[in-house]
Symmetry: C2
Subunit: 401 residues, 2 copies
Amino acid sequence: MLSVEEARARIVGPLRPTPAETVSLPEAWGRVLANPLHARLTQPPADVSAMDGYALRAEDGQAGARVAVIGHAPAGRPFPGQVGQGQAVRLFTGSVVPEGADCVLPQEEVDRDGDSIAVREAARPGRHIRRTGQDFRQGAPLLPAGARLGARAIGLIAAANHPWVAVHRQPRIAILATGDEIVLPGEPLAVGSIVSSNAHALAGLVRAGGGIPLVLPIAPDDSAAIASVADRLSGIDLLLTTGGASVGEHDLVQTSLATRGFALDFWRIAMRPGKPLLFGRLGDVPVLGLPGNPVSAFVCAFLFLMPALNRLCGLTNDALRSVEARLTAPVAANDRRADHLRAALTPDPAGTLVATPFDRQDSSLLLLLANAGCLILRPPHAPALQAGANVPVLRLDLDGL
Amino acid sequence: MLSVEEARARIVGPLRPTPAETVSLPEAWGRVLANPLHARLTQPPADVSAMDGYALRAEDGQAGARVAVIGHAPAGRPFPGQVGQGQAVRLFTGSVVPEGADCVLPQEEVDRDGDSIAVREAARPGRHIRRTGQDFRQGAPLLPAGARLGARAIGLIAAANHPWVAVHRQPRIAILATGDEIVLPGEPLAVGSIVSSNAHALAGLVRAGGGIPLVLPIAPDDSAAIASVADRLSGIDLLLTTGGASVGEHDLVQTSLATRGFALDFWRIAMRPGKPLLFGRLGDVPVLGLPGNPVSAFVCAFLFLMPALNRLCGLTNDALRSVEARLTAPVAANDRRADHLRAALTPDPAGTLVATPFDRQDSSLLLLLANAGCLILRPPHAPALQAGANVPVLRLDLDGL
């Protein structure tokens, strides 16, 4: 049986990011930059005022002095002349500082009287001026390829004057649920029927990872029906199956796909929940066969599909990052299979994360999974731990999961 | 000047969640449940096998015993008869345990020989059986109103047999950028022009908060043009403006909207960046007027718009949660305005979060904002802190921000 880390490396290693597409700036939110992005202008493009106030020569701005106001310059309409000795120009935040002036006096620090101002607080050279290019200069690198674009990055790209952005296209993930007993939610149920939940949970996970899910019609436990999915993989970046990855007589995915040239890489991992995980290729399309138990399917998808999605999306940082939490209850020594205990996760009054493993860890308990705040990571042969010990956990209490 | 907390309470307090709409299960991912959700069936609906194996009477399953296999029952097709003394039925994971049997022997623990099995490891009553309703029972509450639906919740709702879900409709947030100097990205730039970045960054933030942004055409510094937005608020849950919230002559938002019955609540907050924050109402529509500086606009939107969006979306937990981080550099004592220092945030080798405030904190530096991992919270009159001290921070290194 493979270790979790080795299995992940074999799944993710050969994957390549999807090619780029051009999207408009608002469409780029949440997407991953395909090329480094450079500034198309200098920001600010000139020395500008940081305040509403008056531009003048600092030497004229002594407390008590009176200075003539010779004009005004709203942001966007620079003053066309020069500021001479004993003169000032009314400015606003963002206004270009006119030639001749070397500082700005905020309006709160002067008294205006008709066409002149009386200085209340002494000016200093350079004060309240934002210098040309102090944010960025034309041609400067702003964002690297592989960055996921959030609201701030979108604002930065706009400020750098890009209306269009090259991003990796969203990976398309086909999801095939198999099993005679599986029916869609709301459809008539026979004795022994199970409502299809994995495909829909996995579709949500695909969306959380930035992909586009395609939920295929449920395949019965029929070799020809399962094999025919191989004919429907055009434009698909990865095929997920759920159910049928174990060794039972009705676990047909592997044998059915084998008739269409499925190349098996591995099918067992030393982990719990979720030992029977199938991985291989149908032509160019990677196939990840998840267990049928909903908890096993989710945990395996979280551990293996999410990093695969990150890589396909073009993210440069695709490690699953654990954080430390303090146990509130003891945990037993682990056997040779890496375990992933479902647990509540809360901050204690000092802000430290505290994890409480659930008493029941059966891989069929979907309600407990939905309530879990984290997975406690228990490596193979990890020793027993007392309450109060620190453990690595993978957080589940994040939007989208 | 109001405190940040008081301002937030006055903005969020009067807001009510949007009404419900019915969406299909796959559409419900990322949405907020409008009503508590109950199970429409019992899961599992009968005692089912947790393994691929054989159902029998535990008393027949002694090590070395031989038992006759009288039939098989794939998941979804229950065995119609009874299991008698000395008999077993072949089962698979999820198969209904037939009447008469009280345990399951995993296939790894028997040797099959034609129509019988030889028991290798002794059976125990109840072993490897998932009991009726051990996940949930029909009518049981599964998810509360106000829950944001991630992948696991979607799976749970599917398993509970709901094809449709009632969720709060997404709040629609109109965004108005004002200023003669503002032009759209990619449009011709005159001397003194500034590319519109706030509206697009805010649109991303609205999406991150689960809302639908409507970016209105840029309004020039013209009272009639700004006032006319009051005619375009049909179907809008909140109006954001950016620019024009200060006291300069070209800060026309407040006076322009006053001509259409704008009821001002407050317009100054004891905070940095972003003192000039305007809040009031145009008829039923709350109006949040953000500063024009991009960093001020983002920080104010993060502190005030996000909680407002959470409330409008129907989330029951809408507190901005800070976490503790350790300073790598000293910070100066604060004045009477709450400060929000842009900082890098990284875990140290032990996993502790470490915050490094940027040297430059000017509210025009969008590139630094885009690179920030957190905002260090500095309450009014907070004392100076040395490197190594713990500070509360608001994380920005999350998807969507």
